[in-house]
């Protein structure tokens, strides 16, 4: 057989995990039973709505629209909640069932394992709505809903399911115990489904306002695809934005799952580091595009910049708590196969350079990104102040946790990080209140809360964009916090260097 024929044979070869998982699932009574129950429930729903409509001689088209909204609304909530829980068992059950070693030893690439699991569970979940299609076809007969509506709604149902499964698999790959993964996935899934629906509703309101449309029902966005005039904003809102959001979400949890399948001697944080860089580039580009499409004025661009700073601040603090568990030294395997120096510099594999990487990512997020968003001639002072403040805050957090990780281990670092967050988010406000407070808008007592992100952003907006008279007290408080963070960073960096020289435990 020629090399080409072999290559072709391999390319056509489906992922074996998909077949195996689906076979096993079809023999699982619980799964089969739930599919049947779901279908029967749906049929009953369709029939009763149809009957009610014909009894009352009501508008059939209206009944069709209601049915469409009810069915898909229900299906979204259900799949958004069930698929993460379902995904959460995928990989950890291989660990618990002691089948994981055999899988690793087949030499199957971890990314292939992840995609196989993802695809299998997605197909298993998606089978329910697919099987429901004939029942749902009845809606078309009622009128009021077109085939296009059904297709768009189904596409989104697929995306939501895939996202849910990916999230579950990400949890699953990091977990050691199935029960814990499921227990964690369940509340997060409920919370996620609620968050998703409120975001969608909020967007709907904003949307209807912007395009002067009347968008009906919880699934307004399906209507939007047929109601919004074609153009740049159609492309951005209905194609680019959803693709970016779902793409980044899938990439994130795919990377987390992939990372969880790597061996301790590999650089496990690498997939997520790559994601962080990619997410920075993608969201900056999307925000920039948004500003362009809607021809935002200078003031709105600044607001967008501040929003980007705030959102990335939350993300970076989350990443910090994940990366503070990085190994202190390179593993034997990494020493034997040193990565390319460029790759090592961009995506460092050990703790301290990784923390440096995080701070560099912070600089991109807090300074470069917002700057890229602004129009020429914008007054950058406010954005820059907020950016420097954020970077100082991140550096201080990172320095503290880095020191704790080197000196006492990663769990101490995480506890220290949580205490730090508590101190800057809550404690300083308590102190402020006890110290007598004062009017923050006049800058009274601002020094107390100047280390708190909750204060910093409104203060910056107020001081630099609010057009008020005297803001010198607020500016002084900002400078005070930056100086404090700077000293703090220097102190803990020095302590880290000292601890490092005294010798760290071998990995």
């Amino acid at each position: 057989m020629s090399a080409w024929a072999a290559l072709w044979e391999r390319a056509r070869d489906p992922n074996p995990i998909v077949r195996k998982e689906l076979l096993a699932l079809l023999r699982t009574p619980v799964y089969v039973r739930s599919v049947v129950v779901a279908l029967v429930a749906l049929a009953v729903l369709v029939v009763s709505v149809a009957l009610a409509a014909s009894e009352g001689e009501a508008d059939l088209a209206e009944a069709g629209r209601i049915l469409f909204q009810v069915y898909f609304g229900g299906a979204y909530l259900l799949l958004a909640m069930v698929s993460p829980v379902f995904g959460a068992t995928a990989i950890v059950q291989e660990r618990e069932g002691r089948t994981f070693d055999a899988l690793v030893l087949t030499g199957m690439h971890p990314s292939r394992v992840v995609t196989g699991k993802l695809l299998a569970l997605f197909l298993a979940m998606a089978f329910i709505p697919v099987a429901a299609t004939p029942v749902l076809g009845v809606v078309l007969l009622f009128g009021g809903v077109t085939l296009g509506h059904l297709l768009v709604a189904t596409l989104y149902l697929g995306l939501v399911t895939l996202s849910g499964v990916a999230f579950g698999i990400g949890l699953s790959a990091q977990a050691q115990v199935t029960r814990r993964a499921v227990l964690l996935a369940t509340p997060l899934a409920v919370f996620g489904a609620l968050a998703l629906s409120s975001v969608v509703t909020g967007l709907g309101v904003e949307y209807a306002r912007r395009h002067s449309l009347t968008l009906e029902g919880p699934l307004f966005f399906v209507d939007a695809y047929f109601a919004v005039p074609y153009g740049l904003s159609y492309l951005f809102d209905l194609v680019v934005l959803p693709a970016t959001v779902f793409g980044l979400w899938l990439w994130l949890w795919g990377a987390v799952a992939y990372a969880g399948l790597l061996e301790p001697s590999d650089d496990r944080a690498r997939p997520v580091k790559l994601w962080a860089l990619g997410a920075w580039a993608a969201t900056t580009a999307a925000a920039r595009l948004y500003a362009y499409v809607y021809a935002l004025g200078a003031q709105d661009r600044v607001v967008l910049g501040h929003l980007a700073q705030a959102a990335s601040g939350v993300l970076l603090v989350l990443l910090l708590s994940a990366w503070v568990g990085e190994p202190l030294r390179r593993s034997r395997r990494q020493l034997l196969h040193p990565p390319h120096p460029l790759s090592r510099a961009l995506l460092p594999p050990t703790l301290l350079p990784t923390l440096g990487f995080l701070v560099a990512l912070g600089a991109l997020n807090f300074l470069v990104g917002p700057w890229l968003l602004t129009a020429r001639g914008t007054n950058l002072e406010g954005l820059l102040s907020a950016g420097v403040w954020c970077l100082a805050y991140l550096s201080a957090t990172t320095a503290l946790q880095g020191f704790l990780a080197v000196r006492y281990g990663s769990s101490a670092a995480r506890i220290g990080g949580a205490l730090w967050l508590f101190a800057t988010l809550v404690l300083c406000w308590i102190v402020y209140a006890l110290a007598g407070g004062g009017s923050l808008s006049r800058g009274e007592g601002a020094l107390w809360v100047s280390v708190s992100p909750v204060w910093a952003f409104p203060a910056v907006v107020d001081a630099f964009h609010g057009g008020r008279g005297d803001t010198s007290a607020t500016r002084a408080a900002l400078r005070f916090a930056m100086a404090l963070f700077g000293l703090w960073t220097a102190l803990f960096s020095a302590l880290t260097a000292l601890a490092w020289r005294r010798g760290v435990r071998s990995p």
Binding site: I17, A24, R27, T28, G97, D101, A102, G107, L336
Partner: protein, 314 residues
């Protein structure tokens, strides 16, 4: 084929391998024995690339397990101790899955599965769901799985642990067959007597250190110099010690049990030289008119070997 030098491994701060060195030549069947917690599984997992040792070198088929795990996995079939199987697939689907996962091309898979099924005699079980197989049948299925990619080296952790006596004999036959096919086999086991006939080499590990390693006869000779034979008589057992002690090639005589009232009993005689000496022993005993009823040369006895090597252990 397999070489370890000064392997050390620690779980957290606790070192469990303190410099394990061993060598398994190509084509050997190597029995790796040691008490519970000695570090057998840990050593085998290092060799199977599932653990990275803290220091030391391990090579399989010339490939470094730390530097080149992917290549090592292609030449090694590893049967983990106490591993699980996928429940809701049939035995055939199970094997087909692993054949595909191991990267065999579709056209080669059916043949690979058929080969291992024949070797492990799984033919009648192929259509059964794995959850319906007995422990021993599952063990055979897992063994079949490790053979799918036709590895040159087999690393088997406690392959006999869940098997009944008949299945053990079958496993022994299978291992000999695999040995004849030229595979190098490293296996650990508790069921020491079962291994004696298959293994040509043996290594004993205790407390994370290899205390003896080499061809089985050499190890035995080094640890217990001299040959041994057991004699059984119907009377005058007590006299045997003095009687045989006179022979120049006899190193020692040990009563196996106190003689009965009639004087019946057995002794174990340690002697130097080849089997011709046994004939001389028998002649000496019968010449004195002692009623000799049994002569039993000592089998290669791993259990005793094991006990003598690990004496004073935990």
């Amino acid at each position: 084929m397999i070489e370890c030098e000064e392997l050390r491994h620690a779980f957290g701060d606790r070192e469990v391998l303190h410099g394990v060195s061993l060598r398994v030549p190509e084509g050997a069947v190597y029995g790796f024995i040691g008490p519970n917690g000695a570090g057998k599984t840990t050593t085998l997992r290092v060799l199977a690339t599932l653990l990275v040792p803290t220091s030391g070198v391990a090579r399989v088929a010339g490939l470094d397990v730390v530097a080149d795990p992917v290549a090592v996995r292609r030449v090694v079939g590893y049967l983990p101790d106490n591993a699980g199987v996928y429940d809701r697939v049939t035995a055939e689907e199970y094997l087909a899955f692993f054949a595909a996962a191991a990267g065999l091309l579709p056209h080669a898979r059916a043949r690979a599965v058929a080969n291992v099924v024949e070797l492990t005699e799984l033919g009648r079980l192929l259509d059964q769901e794995v959850s319906a197989l007995s422990k021993g049948q599952r063990q055979r299925l897992q063994l079949a799985r490790t053979l799918l990619h036709d590895p040159r080296v087999l690393i088997l952790d406690e392959p006999a642990s869940d098997l009944d006596p008949r299945a053990r004999i079958e496993l022994r036959l299978l291992l000999s067959e695999l040995g004849r096919m030229g595979k190098t086999i490293l296996l650990s086991s508790h069921i020491l007597t079962e291994l004696a006939d298959v293994c040509s080499w043996v290594g004993v590990i205790e407390g994370g250190r290899v205390v003896a390693s080499g061809p089985i006869d050499e190890v035995q000779a080094a640890l217990r110099p001299g040959q041994r034979v057991r004699l059984r008589v119907l009377a005058r057992a007590a006299e045997l010690g003095e009687l045989l002690g006179r022979l120049p090639f006899v190193r020692g005589v040990r009563a196996l049990e106190p003689p009965t009232a009639e004087g019946a009993g057995g002794v174990e005689v340690t002697y130097e030289g080849d089997e011709a000496r046994v004939a001389e022993l028998v002649r000496a005993v019968t010449a004195e008119g002692v009623p000799l009823v049994g002569v039993e040369a000592e089998r290669r006895d791993l259990e005793r070997l094991f006990m003598s090597v690990t004496e004073g252990g935990k």
